[in-house]
């Protein structure tokens, strides 16, 4: 694990963020504790930009042929390749979007671009306090023709693509939606999504012998997930800080100002300075601040989330501009103002601020977005450039609208049919 500590590796997300991702929720011994497990697995952080790997086990590295510094900070998609089934990728994306577990058979590639069949099991780790997903555990179980005999050895990679080819077909015939094996896994039940198998499926195409092999592998994957999850729970800093099951509904956690992890995944792709404030909470506190906002204003995230935006104002701020913002919020309308704001170090800057209401799936205003643009150095004649910077602001607003409409609170997520 010394690779992880090396700040000079070719890591793709900054090493601090990767370290903090583990250090904040768990004890300092977490690396060691995880290192004792021989499974092939990774931990990913959905609240960091691009959902990067923050821990990779020795088994995973051995199996895929990568070094730790080559994978830490990167999104897991590097395991995919040209023959990877698109629909299977969608199944994983869907699970992450719905913040639940899934198990799929997927064609992955080693660093040497050697394809292998992987039984991939994804499971979320929830925060008890906020209901968000803190990490995803991804367990890889390589499959080969005779994986039954090799069940004890996780490092065997089949290089026979054509032999495994038939399995894709069988896999595609598996149910399209919720994982067929979901019932073996606690959190699906907790999400109330277990009993959705109401329609007849064309699922009978599994070859008997393949199914045998599969079940064994599946059990193995689930055992691995359980061990890692229980290790994480044990290493959790505060008592009961981490849970294997969601103990707070998405709507509940949204109602106390928590941005869920799947919405966070969309928001971290927007490279603009912006904040989201929740008008449904007292004094309209900030519930999310982008990295670029923190960079612009000099504050830390924990210093701004939970506070009303007015801390940006100072002695030179024109009350008329503030009034204009208030009025547009009152009418649920967007507005642009040029307002003097202050950084944490009291340095003033001219902010060309765009404020707009953003609606959730229910059509009601879920948040106000404020997109900041530092125009201190821009002179008034610079109309053309100002325009395109403004267009970027509008682009951010659009992207936020799309994300919030689909992902905020209960959002557009599936629910169980009432009987």
């Amino acid at each position: 694990m010394e690779q992880l500590a090396s700040p000079n590796g070719n890591s793709h997300v900054n090493t601090n963020a990767v370290m903090e991702s583990l250090e904040l929720p768990y004890n300092r011994t977490i690396q060691e504790a995880l290192g004792r497990h021989e499974y092939n697995f990774v931990l990913c952080d959905p609240r960091l930009p691009d959902h990067p790997i923050v821990y990779a086990s020795e088994g995973f590295l051995k199996m895929t042929g990568y070094k730790a510094q080559e994978v830490l900070g990167r999104n897991c998609r590097f395991l995919q390749g040209p023959e990877t089934d698109r629909r299977t990728v969608l199944e994983i994306r869907d699970a992450i979007r719905e913040e639940r577990s899934c198990q799929v058979r997927i064609l992955n590639y080693t660093k040497q671009r050697k394809p292998f069949w992987n039984l991939f099991h994804l499971a979320p780790v929830y925060s008890r306090e906020t209901g968000t997903v803190v990490h995803y555990v991804g367990v890889q179980t390589p499959l080969s023709k005779s994986s039954a005999e090799e069940a004890g050895d996780g490092n065997v990679v089949s290089d026979s693509l054509s032999e495994s080819g038939k399995k894709v077909t069988a896999d595609n015939d598996k149910n399209g939606c919720l994982d067929a094996h979901a019932h073996q896994d606690g959190d699906i039940v907790a999400n109330g999504l277990d009993a959705l198998n109401s329609r007849p499926r064309n699922g009978g195409l599994h070859l008997e012998e393949e199914f045998e092999v599969e079940e064994k592998d599946e059990r193995r994957a689930i055992t691995a997930v359980r061990s890692v999850l229980s290790e994480l729970t044990k290493s959790s800093k505060s008592k009961g800080g981490i849970a294997e099951q969601r103990c707070m509904s998405l709507a509940e956690s949204a109602s106390v100002g928590v941005v869920c992890s799947s919405l966070m995944l969309s928001l971290t792709r927007i490279q603009q300075s912006f904040v989201l404030a929740d008008p449904n909470l007292p004094d309209m506190p900030i519930v999310h601040a982008s990295d670029m906002f923190l960079h612009l204003t000099g504050y830390l995230r924990e210093e701004v989330v939970g506070r009303n935006c007015r801390f940006l104002q100072g002695p030179g701020t024109d009350s008329k501009s503030v009034q204009k913002i208030r009025e547009s919020i009152k009418e649920s309308k967007p507005c642009n103002v040029r307002i003097l704001n202050y950084r944490k170090d009291k340095q003033p800057f001219w902010n060309f601020l765009h404020v707009a209401p953003v609606r959730g799936a229910d059509g009601k205003v879920a948040y106000y977005v404020g997109v900041q643009l530092d125009v201190t150095l821009a002179d008034t004649t610079e109309c053309e450039e100002g325009m395109s910077a403004h267009m970027k602001q509008l682009g951010a607003v659009g992207a936020i609208r799309v994300a919030v409409r689909g992902l905020q609170g209960d959002g557009l997520r599936r629910t169980k049919k009432e009987s």
Partner: protein, 461 residues
């Protein structure tokens, strides 16, 4: 001629005022105004290499490639939104702030219908008001362009977001002011949006191409999806007879940050896995109310375009209405032959389904259903969606005929003429059907390939 009466959707603010066709009096997208105008242009690279596809095979949002470990993207920020995406969203938001839309679609309530499939329903009371119902012919998939009817050259330039042109150099780029000549591919807003970012892509607007799918224009649509590179931005196409209302070639697209039910639906591989030649993987849906074929991009964009547009060509030439969904950033294409309009024209759609006034075009078929009335929205269930879509689908028997039609031409029979295929199909039809059994089939909720309906079978409403 088979017809149904329905209210056309108002896609442009210039649609309603258009009974007089001479002179435009505004900055329109016709030759009179577009030539010499300076318009924003996004240029894309035609046939990018697998590497340049950016969309990659590597899942989410990444433009960096596997073998390139040199951190091309900002190490702190991760991959940004693709530029085309930001451009569409920014321009759309700008038109929203200018008040060009008939309603704020984000204020329309939407929900997922409880159940496994996750059908999405939206209550949209603003989309369908005003217009008087018009007679639509449902059994002519190819019709000549009619200059007298509304078309996209009549649209005002403020409804244009940008032009989408092939790049002359190696990279994609954007230029806010380009002197217009020729016939640009335009991206315009739909003033009655189904979701945020609803736009229409009109290939070579001045060429006045009727609604039909050809290789070149389908390639353009795929490029649009590839460049936007967002799994939640899909393109759709409705043929005439499959609920297209404007006979001027256009694709639709919008954002919705959830998988469509059809994208989750299980599939069965149709072409052989082992054959190296099969660059495009072909599947059929196995557990979905509408039967359809799914194409998956392999290494060659050209091959995908070839296979899909060939199938569409056969369908439209055989007068079979169909819908196309381009999903997963242009890597998966769904093709649905459909016969709802015909059933409707024949009075064979069940009254409780008809009563909800949903026109099952590409979005509905994919599982996103827009309802006009609150009571329908509140009562909507997975069973309703399933029932509605079942009536869109061809019967199993007819669908296998259709598969026969579109695949017999793909299996190495490059030289087979269209006429040959048609003949083959007709023969298989004639072998089985008489007009009588066809009608029986229809009454049983089935239908048939229509291309050789005799005059005696035609119904007018």
């Amino acid at each position: 001629m088979l017809t149904i009466r329905r209210c056309p959707t108002v896609v442009s603010n210039y649609q309603e005022t258009l009974d007089q066709t001479t002179g435009c009096g505004h900055n329109c997208l016709g030759a009179c105004c577009i030539h010499g105008a300076k318009l924003p242009v996004y240029s894309f690279v035609k046939f990018p290499s697998a590497k340049g596809l950016g969309l990659d095979f590597y899942g989410e949002s990444d433009s960096s490639q596997v073998q390139e470990f040199d951190a091309q993207h900002d190490p702190v920020q991760g991959p940004a939104l693709p530029f085309l995406n930001t451009l569409i969203l920014a321009q759309w938001e700008d038109r929203l702030s200018r008040g060009l839309f008939r309603y704020d679609v984000t204020a329309c309530e939407t929900k997922v219908l409880p159940g496994e499939f996750g059908f999405i329903a939206q209550l949209n009371e603003g989309r369908h008001l005003k217009k008087r119902p018009t007679e639509f012919c449902v059994d002519k998939v190819l019709q000549p362009f009619d200059l007298k009817k509304f078309n996209f050259t009549k649209v005002g330039q403020e409804e244009l977001l940008f032009c989408f042109e092939e790049s002359e150099d190696k990279g994609s780029n954007y230029n806010e002011m380009v002197f217009m000549k020729d016939s640009p591919n335009v991206v315009i807003i739909n003033v009655s949006p189904i979701e945020y970012g609803h736009v229409l892509l009109v290939p070579r607007v001045l060429d006045c191409i009727p609604q039909q799918l050809e290789t070149e224009t389908f390639l353009l649509a795929l490029h649009f999806a590839l460049e936007a590179n967002d799994p939640y931005f899909r393109l759709g196409y409705n043929s005439l007879g499959a609920f297209a209302t404007i006979n001027h070639l256009h694709f639709q697209a919008y954002y919705l940050a959830t998988p469509f039910p059809v994208e989750r639906a299980p599939v069965r591989r149709l072409n052989d896995n082992e054959e190296q030649d099969n660059d495009v993987k072909i599947f059929e849906l196995t557990n979905y109310p509408v039967r359809g074929v799914v194409y998956e991009l392999g290494k060659s964009l050209e091959e995908l375009v070839h296979v899909v547009s060939r199938a569409c060509n056969l369908l439209q030439n055989c007068n079979i209405p169909f819908n196309v969904l381009i999903a997963d950033r242009g890597t998966r294409v769904f093709l649905f032959p459909q016969c709802y309009a015909e059933r409707q024209a024949r009075g064979e759609v069940e009254p409780d389904i008809l009563e909800t006034q949903v026109n099952p075009a590409v979005w509905e078929i994919s599982g996103h259903i827009v309802l006009k009335r609150k009571e329908n929205y509140e009562m909507a269930s997975e069973d309703y969606a399933w029932k509605l879509l079942t009536q869109v689908s061809f019967s199993e028997e007819a669908f296998s005929e259709i598969k026969h039609l579109i695949f017999s031409s793909d299996e190495g029979m490059e030289q087979t003429s269209m006429a040959g295929n048609l003949e083959k199909l007709n023969l298989s039809q004639l072998g089985k059907d008489s007009a009588k059994t066809v009608h029986q089939g229809l009454n049983n909720g089935n239908t048939k390939l229509r291309k050789n309906l005799s005059a005696s079978e035609q119904v007018c409403i």
